[in-house]
């Protein structure tokens, strides 16, 4: 085989690089980001599980309901009512975007553009 050695060496390096993240990552355990929960409030508008898994779906529905359908009152699964507003309802409890929203978003590598328009409770600088 012509060039046998360089081909094999190249393959080894390539596969080594391919596996490097896995090799380097073994032994380390994933640590969930520690978000700061609102001090005064115990309950969110829906259950913790629901909010964890579906807040993005809910916010997406909220914006259409409020803006396009003109329906601005949300009744949750327990029958409690809330005004539909990211800025005026969510962020009234979650008063620190950096300590709450950003923590998970940065960890998950997503950057939603909500705050290009909605103002965060700590104000804009």
């Amino acid at each position: 085989m012509h060039y046998g050695f360089p081909i094999i060496a190249g393959l080894v390096i390539f596969i080594g690089l391919l596996c490097a993240p896995f090799a380097l990552g073994t032994g380390k355990t994933y640590k969930q980001p520690e978000v700061k929960l609102p001090a005064g409030e115990k309950e969110c508008i829906e259950s913790v599980e629901f909010m964890r898994e579906q807040h993005m779906v809910l916010l997406d529905q909220w914006r259409d309901w409020a803006l396009r359908d003109g329906k601005r009152i949300y009744t949750n699964h327990n029958g409690k009512e809330f005004v539909i507003s990211l800025q005026n309802t969510c962020m009234k409890c979650h008063t620190n975007k950096a300590e709450f929203c950003d923590k998970c978003h940065t960890d998950a590598g997503v950057s939603p553009y909500c705050w290009d328009c909605h103002t965060q409770p700590e104000g804009l600088k």
Partner: protein
């Protein structure tokens, strides 16, 4: 054989019942349609505005209205071609170019007229928007969904009144960040914006900000309710609308 067929049909029935239930069960989180309008909100078939230009016509008076509007909606302050405006003023020939005559009363000719989006009954801006980011609500308000605007500016080309502004740059750079209205969002670069007839205020039972600031010179109400304050003025006074030939049926009327 007989038994088998019976079992099969039973199973099929169960499966069909399952199919009928499944979509509801799956949609139970989103499908629980738990929303309603704010009971305090104001409703109409077609919101409209009548501006008494005999009471409200100096540049300063109109600038005051624009100020209150722009403050509560976090409209950036810019001049020149990149200007963003929801409410502004202009003189008669620019306001009513089709209704000019060479011997018009001088005072009427030189008056300033408050201008804003007319929330037209047949809005050309809505017809041309490719993403439905601008749309007509059931109460007649022509609204903007900034989440969906792609900044193509077809609506600006289609509006015969110049009622729309485009955010060429980052609007927050031209806002006083210390004095924002924290209840209303700002916008982002690359979207079109305009007057929204204060939908967010109507939703909680308040009148539009400019109507409140006008101290009676602007009335606001339902165009299709003969008892509304708007219809009352229209019955009693002579009014003009801007560029009637454009066929958009503007809902802002001017007492001359």
């Amino acid at each position: 054989m007989k038994n088998n067929r019976r079992a099969f049909i039973k199973l099929a029935a169960v499966a069909a019942a399952g199919l009928a239930v499944a979509p509801k069960a799956m949609a139970s989180s989103g499908g629980h349609s738990p929303v309603k309008a704010n009971p305090k909100g104001l409703h109409a078939k077609q919101w409209a505005m009548v501006i008494d230009s005999t009471k409200l016509h100096s540049e300063e008076e109109i600038a005051k209205l624009a100020d209150s509007c722009h403050k509560i909606h976090n409209v950036p302050e810019l001049t020149g071609k990149k200007e963003v405006k929801w409410l502004w003023s202009d003189i008669y020939p620019h306001t009513f170019p089709e209704q000019e005559n060479p011997h018009l009363a001088e005072e009427v000719h030189h008056r300033h007229y408050p201008l804003l989006c007319n929330h037209c009954e047949h809005p050309s801006c809505v017809r041309v928007c490719p993403t439905k980011a601008t749309f007509k609500r059931p109460d007649g308000i022509v609204a903007m969904d900034y989440h969906r605007c792609i900044g193509c500016r077809y609506c600006m080309a289609a509006c015969p009144y110049g009622s729309r502004s485009f955010n060429w740059g980052e609007p927050r750079k031209n806002l006083d960040l210390a004095n924002l209205n924290p209840k209303f969002p700002t916008r982002m670069r690359g979207v079109v914006e305009k007057c929204n007839f204060c939908v967010e205020r109507l939703a909680v039972g308040d009148m539009p900000a400019c109507v409140e600031a006008s101290e009676g010179a602007i009335v606001f109400g339902d165009l299709y309710d003969p008892e509304s304050p708007v219809r009352k003025v229209l019955r009693e006074r002579f009014t003009l609308r801007r560029k009637p030939a454009a066929g958009t049926e503007p809902c802002v009327y001017y007492v001359i």
